[in-house]
C-alpha cells in the first residue's frame, strides 16, 4: 500500500472534498493512499448524523408548496449547509460534479424539481453510469430543461437527443481518437427514441411514457460504425447503448480528470492516460466508483503536475475557506437564515442550481476577471472581519485564530500558510511576515500573539493569504 504524506492527504481532501483541518488530513494520511481513497469514496460508512440533525433543525422542506419555507434561496442555503457541515465531503463534491455535468438551471426549472434532481444526483452518483443517466433523463428537471416534454411523435424536439450525446456521454469528437462520434442524422434518430417521455403532472411527479406520443417506428443509429443499430429503439435502449460505447468511457474520464486532477491537454500522452482510465470503466461494468477509485489512487493524481493545477471554483473557495481554517457557517433557520455563502459565490460567478447553460461552468481561467477577483478578495474580508458569532453568517472566532498562531511571526505565517493549503508562496512569506511586524503608521513593531494582535493583525494576515494567487488555486 502506498503511503500518503501530509501534503498528499491535503491535496486529496481539497480535491475529493473542500479541504479540512490538520486532524482530518492526519487521519487520511495514516490510512495510506488506497485506504484514504476507500474511506472517502465509501462515504455511506461515515457517520453523518450531526449534519442530519443540523439540517432537520434548520430547514423545513416538508411541503414544497409552502414557498416561505421551500424556495430557491432555501435550497441553496441547504446545499451550502451540507457542504460546510458534512463528514462525507466526497458525497457533496461528487454531487457538484454531476450538477455541473448534467447542468440544469432554475432559470427554466422550478425549485422543486431542481431540489429533487440534486437528491437524485447525490443518491446515485457512484453507481453504474447507465443507471444514473437513465434516472437523470427520466427526472422532471431534465425533461423540462431540455424540452423533452415537447418531444412527440411527428414533431420531435432534438434538444435532449443532442445534449445527451454532445455533453452527457460522448462528446462530438472522441477525446482520444478525434473521431466523430455521431452525426446530425443520429441526433434526429435518437430524439425519436425519446418521444413521449414525460412526467406526471401531479405528485408524485414521476416519469411517465405517453404511449400515444411515442414514435414506435424503426430508428437507425450510428450507421456505418461498429455501434450501428436499427429497430424500434426505445429511450432506454439508446441510453444502454451509448453508456457502453468507449467514447462515453473516455469522455467521462476526461471530464473527471479536468474536474478532479488537472487540465487535460490534447497531447498523445494525455490521450493515452485518458484511454487507460477509460478501460477501468469499461472493464468494471461502467462503475463510476471504480473509475473514481482508480483516478484518486493513481500516480497521475499525485503527480507534481496535479498539485495546485486548477483554479478554485467559487464554491470550493468559499466552503474551503470555512473548513480549512476551522471557521463557521451559521446557516441559521428558515425564519432567520444566512444566504451569505450562496450570494458571495454567485457574485464570483457560480450560482448553485443556476449554471450559465447546459454545458455547466467553464473551469479555470473562466473564473478569473477583475470583477470576480474583487469579489474573491472581499469575500475573504467579509469572512475575516465578522466578529458577530451569534447571528447567522460566516465567521471565525478569535479563539480559533489564536490556536493557530505561534510565538514568532515567521512560524505564525508558516502555520497559516500550511493550514490554508499547504501553500508554498515564495517571497510572499517575507511580505506577510513584514505585515505582522508593521504598525499603523508603518513603523516596525514586535509581534506578540496576544488577543489584540489576533483580533487585528491575524485577521488581516488571513485575509491577505486568501488574496494570494496561490490561494485561488486547488
Amino acid at each position: 500500500m502506498a503511503s500518503l504524506s501530509y501534503d498528499e492527504g491535503a491535496h486529496l481532501l481539497r480535491r475529493a472534498g473542500f479541504g479540512g483541518a490538520p486532524e482530518e488530513i492526519d487521519d487520511l494520511s495514516a490510512r495510506g493512499r488506497e485506504g484514504a481513497v476507500d474511506f472517502l469514496i465509501n462515504f455511506n460508512q461515515i457517520d453523518n448524523s450531526a449534519m442530519e440533525t443540523l439540517l432537520a433543525t434548520s430547514f423545513d422542506f416538508s411541503n414544497f408548496a409552502d414557498n416561505t419555507k421551500f424556495n430557491q434561496n432555501e435550497i441553496r442555503r441547504w446545499w451550502f449547509t451540507r457542504m460546510t457541515a458534512t463528514k462525507r465531503q466526497f458525497e457533496e463534491k461528487l454531487t457538484l460534479f454531476w450538477h455541473n455535468h448534467f447542468a440544469t438551471s432554475l432559470s427554466k426549472v422550478q425549485d422543486t424539481f431542481m431540489y429533487t434532481q440534486n437528491v437524485l444526483l447525490r443518491n446515485n452518483g457512484l453507481g453504474k453510469f447507465d443507471d444514473l443517466l437513465l434516472k437523470v433523463s427520466q427526472d422532471a428537471a431534465m425533461l423540462i430543461w431540455l424540452d423533452n416534454i415537447t418531444n412527440v411523435l411527428g414533431k420531435p424536439n432534438e434538444n435532449f437527443g443532442r445534449e445527451l450525446q454532445e455533453l452527457f456521454t460522448m462528446g462530438i469528437k472522441d477525446v482520444v481518437t478525434d473521431e466523430q462520434n455521431y452525426t446530425e442524422q443520429d441526433v434526429k434518430e435518437v430524439a425519436r427514441a425519446f418521444t413521449g417521455w414525460n412526467y406526471r403532472r401531479q405528485s408524485p411527479f414521476v416519469f411517465q411514457l405517453n404511449a400515444s406520443q411515442h414514435d414506435n417506428g424503426s430508428k437507425s443509429i450510428y450507421t456505418g460504425t461498429p455501434w450501428a443499430q436499427t429497430g424500434n429503439l426505445s429511450g432506454e435502449d439508446v441510453i444502454t447503448m451509448i453508456s457502453a460505447r468507449p467514447a462515453t468511457a473516455r469522455y467521462l474520464t476526461w471530464k473527471l480528470f479536468n474536474f478532479f486532477v488537472y487540465p487535460v491537454t490534447t497531447s498523445s500522452a494525455d490521450k493515452a492516460t485518458i484511454d487507460k482510465f477509460a478501460k477501468v470503466y469499461l472493464n468494471n461494468n461502467h462503475s463510476i466508483k471504480e473509475l473514481v477509485r482508480a483516478i484518486f489512487t493513481s500516480d497521475e493524481f499525485f503527480s507534481e503536475r496535479a498539485f495546485f493545477s486548477l483554479v478554485k471554483q467559487p464554491v470550493e473557495l468559499t466552503v474551503g475557506a470555512i473548513r480549512m481554517l476551522g471557521g463557521t457557517y451559521n446557516q441559521g433557520t428558515n425564519a432567520r437564515g444566512s444566504n451569505t455563502l450562496s450570494q458571495l459565490s454567485r457574485n464570483m460567478g457560480q450560482d448553485l442550481f443556476a449554471p450559465p447553460d447546459v454545458a455547466g461552468w467553464d473551469p479555470n481561467l473562466a473564473w478569473v476577471n477583475t470583477a470576480s477577483m474583487l469579489e474573491r478578495f472581499n469575500f475573504a474580508n467579509t469572512y475575516l472581519t465578522n466578529r458577530n458569532t451569534t447571528n447567522p453568517g460566516i465567521f471565525v472566532t478569535n479563539d480559533q485564530l489564536k490556536s493557530i498562531t505561534k510565538a514568532s511571526s515567521k512560524k505564525t505565517v508558516k502555520k497559516f500558510l500550511s493550514r490554508l493549503g499547504p501553500l508554498s508562496v515564495g517571497d510572499a512569506l517575507g511580505t506577510l511576515r513584514t505585515y505582522l511586524e508593521t504598525g499603523d503608521n508603518g513603523q516596525p513593531v514586535t509581534y506578540v500573539n496576544d488577543d489584540p494582535t489576533v483580533d487585528k493583525k491575524i485577521r488581516g494576515l488571513v485575509h491577505q493569504i486568501m488574496c494570494l494567487p496561490e490561494f485561488q488555486l486547488n
Binding site: 432559470s107 427554466k108 454567485r346 447553460d357 474573491r376 511580505t431 487585528k456 485577521r459 485561488q472
Partner: protein, 369 residues
C-alpha cells in the same frame, strides 16, 4: 436559455478568460479627480431596464381606444384622469396617447422635444416567462441564446479602451452586457453617502489604521512574477488590476459636483431615491471618466401583479397610487433630475437614454389582477 443551439453559445456571467483580454483600466492620462471638458463629438448611451414587465398600456395610455377602456374598466385611465399631481395634462400633444399621471417630469421633457415614444415593439409569439423573455431581449435573439446585444457591441468596439468604458450599476451584471472579450464591471451601490464605497478592495473597518499596510501587502503579493502563461500570472494580473481599477474609479468620481438636486429621505419614495442615486452614479462616472460611454441601470419591481394600482387605504382603487405609480414616478423623476444634472454639465446633448422591459402584462385587467 442555452438550449436550442448550445454549440453557438459562449460563456456568460462576465466570466471572460483573462488570457483573452485583460481589461485595461483607465490609467491617469487625464488628471484624476477632475471633471472633464465637454466634447461635442462624445456619444454616451444609457440603458434603463425596467425589470419585471412594465405595463406599457398604463405607461403610455391609448386613452381614445375604446378597446383599452373596455378591457380596463378598473385600472384604465380616462382622458380626464391624465393629469399629473400639479393638475397639468399628461396627454401627449394632439395624439391619442397620454403618459401615466405619475410621469409629469417626463411629460415636460416630451414637451421640450427631448423624449420620444416608440410603440408596438415586440417579436412574434412573445414568451411570457420573465427569465426567458429577459434573455430574448437581452440577447436580441428569439432563442435567448448567446451574449448580450450590448456585450456584442462591446466586444467589437470597446476592446483596447479603458476597463470603465462600459459600466453597469446594479446588484449584478445584466445579461445584455455579457460579452466574450470584454469584462464589463458591475458596481453595486453601497447606499449611504458614498455609493461607490463597496467597489473597492475592502479591509477591516474596525482597523482603518491598518488599511495601508493591508493594501501595500496586497499589492506586493500580487505584483510578484509568476511563470508566463501560468494561472498564477493570470490571477495576480487580474487581482492587481481589480484593486487598481476600482481605486481609480473612486478617485475619478471625487471630482464630480452635482448639477441638480437628487431626491433624498425616501421622498417621494425609497424606490425613487435609490433609482435616482444610481443615475447620479452614472453622472459621476460620465462627467469624470472620458471614455465611459455605455452605462446600464436597472429599475426592478414591475412584476407587481395585483398591486398595480392603489393602496389598502383606498381599497386599491386610486390609480395615482400603488406600485406602478411609484415606479413610474421614480423613473420620471430620476430621469428628469439626471437630465438637469447633465444639462448643467453641458453634456445632455451627448447622451441618449432608452428604457426597455421584457414584456407588458395582458391588456385585459382581470388577467393581471
Amino acid at each position: 436559455m442555452a438550449i436550442n443551439r448550445r454549440q453557438f453559445i459562449k460563456r456568460s456571467a462576465g466570466a471572460v478568460s483573462v488570457s483573452l483580454i485583460m481589461p485595461r483600466f483607465w490609467m491617469g492620462g487625464v488628471a484624476q479627480g477632475q471633471e472633464i471638458a465637454a466634447d461635442p463629438n462624445r456619444k454616451i448611451f444609457v440603458v434603463i431596464q425596467l425589470g419585471g414587465g412594465n405595463d406599457g398600456l398604463n405607461t403610455v395610455v391609448p386613452y381614445t381606444d375604446s378597446r383599452y377602456q373596455t378591457l380596463r374598466p378598473t385600472i384604465g385611465f380616462k382622458d380626464t384622469e391624465l393629469k399629473d399631481e400639479t393638475g397639468a395634462s399628461t396627454i401627449l400633444g394632439n395624439t391619442s396617447f397620454g403618459f401615466n399621471p405619475a410621469m409629469g417630469e417626463l411629460k415636460s421633457l416630451y414637451d421640450a422635444g427631448k423624449v420620444g415614444v416608440v410603440l408596438g415593439v415586440s417579436y412574434a409569439n412573445p414568451n411570457l416567462s420573465h427569465f426567458f423573455a429577459t434573455d430574448i431581449w437581452s440577447t436580441a435573439n428569439t432563442t435567448g441564446a448567446g451574449n448580450g446585444w450590448l456585450g456584442r457591441y462591446a466586444d467589437q468596439k470597446l476592446l483596447g479602451k479603458s476597463g470603465l468604458s462600459a459600466v453597469s450599476i446594479g446588484s449584478s451584471l445584466p445579461k445584455a452586457l455579457y460579452a466574450d472579450k470584454i469584462v464589463v464591471p458591475n458596481i453595486t451601490p453601497a447606499g449611504g453617502a458614498d455609493p461607490f464605497v463597496n467597489y473597492a478592495f475592502q479591509t477591516d473597518a474596525r482597523n482603518i489604521g491598518d488599511k495601508n499596510n493591508q493594501l501595500n501587502t496586497f499589492k506586493a503579493n500580487n505584483t510578484r512574477s509568476f511563470p508566463t502563461g501560468s494561472f498564477g500570472a493570470a490571477l495576480a494580473e487580474a487581482g492587481f488590476g481589480a484593486e487598481e481599477g476600482a481605486a481609480q474609479l473612486r478617485t475619478a468620481v471625487q471630482g464630480y459636483t452635482p448639477g441638480a438636486t437628487y431626491p433624498t429621505n425616501n421622498q417621494p419614495s425609497a424606490t425613487a431615491v435609490s433609482f435616482a442615486s444610481a443615475l447620479k452614479m452614472v453622472a459621476e462616472i460620465i462627467t469624470t471618466i472620458p471614455d465611459a460611454n455605455l452605462l446600464y441601470v436597472q429599475l426592478g419591481g414591475f412584476d407587481h401583479h395585483s398591486q398595480e394600482i392603489g393602496t389598502a387605504a383606498d381599497n386599491f382603487r386610486d390609480k395615482t397610487k400603488g406600485q406602478h405609480a411609484t415606479l413610474l414616478k421614480a423613473l420620471s423623476l430620476g430621469v428628469k433630475t439626471f437630465y438637469d444634472d447633465l444639462t448643467a454639465h453641458g453634456i445632455a446633448d451627448n447622451v441618449v437614454m432608452m428604457t426597455w422591459s421584457e414584456f407588458g402584462p395582458s391588456p385585459i385587467e382581470s388577467e393581471n389582477m
